[in-house]
């Protein structure tokens, strides 16, 4: 019986050797990433399907079956039959599983998979972890789509109808499955830094797409714990993704208010968050799935959203946080006109980035409309705080006092106008409006209200008898000059002195 056992073992091992080599060639991934978009932080959700194209799958299964040649399988089956009949079930099963387990072990190390502890994963540099995740994604697909099914088939053929089939299969696959799942677990428990989102999404999607394979391969009673473990870890990855968004919220909330952008321009955090959310929304389907799993009734339910999905709520909330942070930042500017400019800049950027994008669909038309209206409000505020006193100065009272009194007050007004206008132009030419359209809008609205008033004022000046002849001495700006200065506003260059 011992001789039988040894022969059994040898047969299994010998067959396995030749498998190694063919396996590494046939399952080497094809770098066919034609589905990648041109954006940097995009993730191709189709990668898995690319990796195992249909034609190759059939061929691989053929190779798998032949790896232990039919003759060998037949012999093994005969031996197993005798061992089982003699009551040596355990020895037989153990010899089998030990060999196949080693084979799987080697296969995985050939796929580049290391045995990493959770601690190892946590201490890894992010770039290294990204590589490991790539390797893992390939390995787990190979495992569940090729290796484990083939082991199942082998098991079934050798232990045709005998009891050890299920148990042996479980023993063969258990170690590798746990190793693969542990890695996913380590990723799930890891850091919640927002830049990790896309890779964690990868792991989540890989596991999600493999759930049917888990059900299929591990359908028997012994493997139920493996199935459950896979499910648990998959859910945990969902939690991790939600955690990443929470971390993003924290980052936004904690972004220091003191760091004012000179000239009231676009703040880096606005840029970061908007681009981040746009990129994230490309994986909208998966994110919807992730967020539906949590019952998270958060603020923002007074907002009217196109979809009331949890993901939409989350996105709206992040936008609200961003806006609050920006508003707090705007208060740093002592000039309230600059506050408004700052809010306009950032608001415009936000609305732009939201439109024509999944993010816009999530937040809905109403949201966009509301925020566009806010922009207009800021515009009005700007106008009022900067220019209302200037316009006030230019108001000409036609039912005025005596001509000499009128002349004097007009002269005062002119002086005031000149100094106000000079100040504003000096200050505001270094302010920034990043969006061309917005800049033009602002300039034209300013000149639209200022030019006629000034023209009127100048005309009035020239009718004043006392004054009119020397008017040119006092009038610093022609109407065209005023318009020219206005067109220099918001250029963002420092100093704008003429």
């Amino acid at each position: 019986m011992f001789r039988l056992e040894d022969e059994f073992r040898t047969l299994v091992e010998r067959g396995a050797e030749s498998f190694d080599l063919t396996l590494s060639e046939s399952t080497h991934p094809h770098p066919d990433y034609s589905d990648y978009d041109d954006d940097d932080d995009d993730v191709s959700a189709d990668e898995d399907e690319n990796f195992i194209p249909v034609a190759q799958q059939i061929t691989d299964y053929d190779i798998v079956i032949d790896a232990l040649p039919a003759g060998t399988i037949g012999d093994l089956h005969a031996i197993a039959k005798r061992m089982v009949a003699a009551g040596y079930v355990k020895e037989c099963s153990h010899a089998y599983s030990a060999c196949r387990r080693e084979f799987l072990d080697e296969s995985f190390s050939r796929l580049g998979l290391q045995k990493l502890s959770i601690d190892d994963v946590h201490r890894m540099q992010w770039t290294q972890l990204e590589d490991e995740i790539e390797k893992w994604m390939k390995a787990i697909n190979v495992a569940l789509r090729i290796l484990f099914p083939s082991e199942r088939r082998l098991c079934d053929r050798i232990f045709l109808g005998f009891s050890p089939a299920d148990l042996s299969f479980m023993e063969v696959c258990r170690g590798s499955t746990i190793q693969l799942l542990n890695f996913a677990d380590a990723v799930a428990i890891g850091s919640r830094a927002p830049e990790r989102l896309f890779k964690v999404l990868d792991v989540y999607e890989t596991l999600r797409d493999l759930m049917p394979e888990f059900e299929l391969n591990f359908s028997d009673q012994y493997c139920s714990s493996l199935r459950n473990e896979a499910l648990t870890i998959w859910k945990r990855l969902g939690e991790a993704i939600r955690g990443i968004f929470m971390e993003l919220e924290n980052l936004i909330r904690r972004d220091p208010v003191k760091a004012a952008v000179p000239g009231g321009g676009l703040h880096p955090i606005t840029r970061y968050v908007m681009n981040y959310l746009r990129a994230a929304c490309r994986s909208r389907r998966t994110l919807e799935q992730v967020f539906e799993e949590s019952i998270d009734y958060r603020k923002g339910d007074d907002q009217v959203l196109s979809s009331s999905s949890s993901l939409a709520v989350q996105m709206a909330w992040i936008m609200e946080l961003l806006e609050s942070n920006l508003e707090a930042k705007s208060k740093i500017y002592r000039d309230s006109a600059l506050c408004s400019v700052f809010m306009m800049n950032n608001g415009k950027y936000i609305v732009q980035k939201v439109k024509d994008n999944e993010l816009g669909t999530l937040l809905g038309e109403d949201w966009i409309r509301k925020h566009t209206a806010k922009l207009r409000q800021y515009h009005v505020n700007y106008q009022r705080s900067s220019w209302s006193k200037v316009l006030g100065v230019l108001k000409v009272d036609n039912n005025s006092t005596s001509p000499s009194g009128a002349s004097k007050s007009l002269r005062e007004k002119l002086k005031l106008f000149n100094s106000y206008f000079e100040d504003i132009c000096r200050t505001q030419s270094s302010w920034v409006i990043f969006d061309d359209q917005l800049r033009d809008e602002l300039r034209s609205s300013v000149s639209g209200s200022l030019s006629p008033a000034y023209r009127n004022f100048v005309a009035t000046l020239q009718t004043v008898p006392d004054f009119g002849k020397n008017a040119d001495r006092y009038i610093r700006y022609s109407v065209d000059g005023v318009e020219a200065r206005i067109s220099e506003l918001f250029q963002g260059t420092s100093g704008g002195k003429r």
Partner: protein, 377 residues
Amino acid sequence: MPITDFHEAASSSGFGFSILSRRRDQVHSMESTHEATVQELELEAFQKQVADRFQDLAAAEPDELLSISWLRKLLDAFLCCQEEFRAIVLKNKVHLNRPPVERSIADFFDRSVKALDVCNAIRDGIEQIRQWQKQLEIILCALDNQRSIGEGQFRRAKKALVDLAIGILEDKEPNTNLAHRNRSFGRSNVPKEQKSLGHFRSLSWSVSRSWSASRQLQAIGGNLVAPRANENMSTHGLSMTVFTMSNVLLFTMWALVAAIPCQDRGLQTQFHATKQFFWAVPILSLHEIILDESKRRDRRHLCGLLKEIIELEKCARPLNELTDSVHFPLKKDKEVELKQKVEEMGSVFEAIKDGLDPLERQVTRRRKSMSGNLLGM
């Protein structure tokens, strides 16, 4: 909260309450907020729980210590402590952002992650014990009490016994054989005897070759120092809570490693809690007892101090000697002796069989709750 309540609580908990009571007096001499008092109550309650639970564990009979059922009690105690700890932390979330507490929570998180790895290794160890269980089944089946023992069955049992014995005794280089085998592409390099011996002995660990349980334990216990009194005051006792829980974590992991086979078991970990903390007393005494046990000459070669493993070894050795000395055909008295020994082994087997699955489930559950815990923070 009348002051009298505190004093009563203090006296009932016994010795070693010095730090807490001293501090409380200080706190009451200043004007403390109501909030601070509540937290201190929480801390006290928590520490009392820890003390009580571990007192229970320490009160076990010497032959119950480190048995499967005792380990299960340990894990239960740990889970309860962890739940309470978690509740306290969540309740005091608002205080967590302050520097000393933030740091210690972050440290605790790190320790928990390392402990997760230990749990994984323990699962492997349990799996290994399952393999022995199988060998036991072979032996019991082969040397079945009902019929007389045939030569074939005898040899079969003998082989399983030898494998079992090798497995139980700690091998200082268990993985080099496997390592060589994994590296070499051709199997013919390794001699046949080594192969067959190795097969039954160990599964390939699911951890890498360089992973070490003792290093991991030391990392869990690294930098674990008691918070100074003023730090503790400023954090309303939270630092102390974290320190207490960290010690509970460390001890639980340490005890598991002591009991169950895993890669590079070493028990030299330092415990920084001292007897001045009343809750640490039972923990430290357990630590001492187990450490002494590990140093005993007849225990040193075992790959794990689990009571059932010790029992197993006790049965296996004489059985091995007996089977060595016996020749076929068996004399009647030898056969009787053999069967007797087998029966003893049978009862150990039952204990293992019944206890192992629930133990593994608990380790898994605890692993899950630790992960959940981490995510909650």
